[in-house]
């Protein structure tokens, strides 16, 4: 079977797959991206758009450092995508809050940030703010908020425009993106490389593969001998009518998109492959938003949706080479937006195994085997 004209085939055309493809293209590789179908669970089209550091890796220093590197790389990454595509991603990294209405949760999260601070030293800074102090600087915040944490390094981006920019950037560098090409089967070919079977029944050859297909890649990962089993975790989101002024803050649950609407989210539910929204969770989101910012009470919600996060067993990214099949890598994570600048740059060095490759040993999937034995 023909191996095609690409050096590497990226399975998955979401933010993770496209960013990975972009990095490989910038490293001089010929790349084909196989994108799935609109009936797939597309985390890249339903996510919240945070570029977020606060709380990440409090319990796992390598993830704290990796995320810190990603956040630092975002301004240059957004500029590069702007140069390649002419698109403005609306990146804003002017700091973000976590708001708390439960004192115990506030204390626990503040303690987690202390652990993150210990991991990152002078590469991190955060504030823990009592509710009354918060209302002195932000009088719009409601009385039920008992406290907040703030990290000046947090931010957000327009995630749909990022997806669009990544597609355009991959194409501008000569990458080939094939639509409606969901991969349903993968096997090592007898002469080296891989045989891929698409959902249409068509078969394709690939010299090397990087599996970035999120939830759609779970079965393929097993076929390639990977131990990682990702699971869906549902988040629900609301978006309001557009407002003519900017909100006075960004938080991990309430953010104003650059066009003016207020997006509200952050729920987590373990419900399997079901991305439907539910009335009680939507009502809870609205209540939370009004507690934080009472002025939102008469602002209309115009859309709501559910989307599925791609969760590894411990929630941290997996960067793994197939133990059985040289030339197959697995790249999967929940924070595909935040980590995109690294996926589009140094991850290519890791995939190519160059001398300058980052040390991603901590993110190998062997950690799951170790924890099972413990």
């Amino acid at each position: 079977m023909a191996r095609g004209t690409s050096d590497i085939t990226v399975i998955g055309g979401g933010v993770v797959g496209l960013a990975t493809a972009l990095g490989l293209l910038r490293a001089g590789r010929r790349v084909t991206v196989l994108d799935g179908s609109d009936s797939d669970f597309r985390a890249s089209q339903g996510n919240f758009g945070l570029v977020w550091l606060q709380g990440k890796g409090a319990g796992f220093a390598p993830y704290a450092a990796w995320t810190r590197d990603a956040v630092a790389a975002w301004p240059g990454f957004a500029a590069t995508l702007g140069d390649l595509t002419g698109l403005d991603l609306a990146l804003d990294q002017s700091g973000g809050f976590e708001f708390f209405t439960d004192p115990a949760e506030f204390q626990d999260f503040a303690a987690a940030l202390e652990r993150q601070q210990a991991h990152l030293g002078n590469r991190f800074t955060h504030e823990v703010i009592d509710g009354d102090d918060l209302r002195r600087s932000h009088p719009q915040i409601g009385p039920d908020v008992v406290g907040a944490t703030f990290c000046p390094l947090d931010g957000h981006v327009n995630p749909l425009r990022l997806l669009r920019a990544l597609r355009a950037a991959v194409r501008s560098l000569g990458g080939h993106i094939r639509a409606d090409a969901g991969v349903r089967g993968i096997a090592a070919a007898s002469g080296g490389g891989f045989d891929l079977t698409l959902h249409t029944g068509e078969t394709l050859g690939a010299a090397r593969v990087v599996l970035c297909a999120g939830l759609g890649g779970a079965d393929l990962a097993a076929e390639l001998g990977f131990a990682t089993r990702v699971r869906p975790q549902r988040g629900e989101l609301l978006i309001t009518e557009k407002l003519g002024e900017r909100l006075p803050f960004l938080s991990s649950t309430i953010r104003q998109v650059d066009e003016g609407g207020v997006q509200i989210g952050g729920t987590k539910a373990e419900v399997g492959p079901d991305d439907r929204e539910t009335l009680d969770v939507m009502a809870g989101l609205a209540r939370h938003a009004v507690k934080v910012l009472p002025a939102l009470a008469d602002v209309r919600v115009v859309r709501a949706w559910g989307a599925l996060r791609v969760m590894t067993p411990d929630g941290y990214p997996v960067y793994a080479r197939s133990p059985r099949h040289p030339g197959a890598c697995l790249v999967t994570c929940h924070s595909g937006i935040t980590l995109a600048p690294l996926h589009a740059s140094v991850l290519a060095d890791w995939i190519e195994n160059t001398e300058t490759a980052p040390d991603l040993e901590a993110f190998d999937e062997n950690r799951f085997a170790l924890s099972d034995a413990a």
């Binding site: 009518e241 557009k242 003519g244 002024e245 003016g260 008469d298 602002v299």
Partner: protein
């Protein structure tokens, strides 16, 4: 200058209600939606987008949000989803609303 409506009013006689649009009295057929009443009244824009572009009702079924109008002081109401009522105070939605409910202008 008044722009004539592009729509004919149904000939069957029904009760008429009076509403106001930006202070001007407007007669409307009882039972019509606010958007239908505004389309029957005038071919002029019934709102301005966030960037100031003229807009008026399009889908008439709650999807496009191009019929947004201020109804009795409440901004950004979907005119196609609301039935006219005698004495209703309508204002063209000009740009985006603000957090305190006021117009952006």
């Amino acid at each position: 200058m008044k722009i004539a409506s592009r729509f004919l009013t149904r000939p069957d006689a029904v009760r008429t209600v009076m509403v106001s649009l930006d202070g001007e009295p407007v007669a409307a057929r009882a039972g019509d939606s606010v958007a239908a009443a505004l389309l029957a009244h005038s071919g002029d824009a019934s709102r301005q987008s966030g960037k100031g572009a003229p807009r008026t009702a399009f889908c008439m079924m709650g999807i496009c949000f191009d019929c947004l109008v201020e109804v009795d002081g409440q901004p950004n109401c979907q005119g196609c989803m609301i039935t006219v009522r005698d004495g209703m105070v309508l204002r063209r939605q000009r740009g985006l609303r603000k957090l305190d409910g006021s117009a952006n202008a």
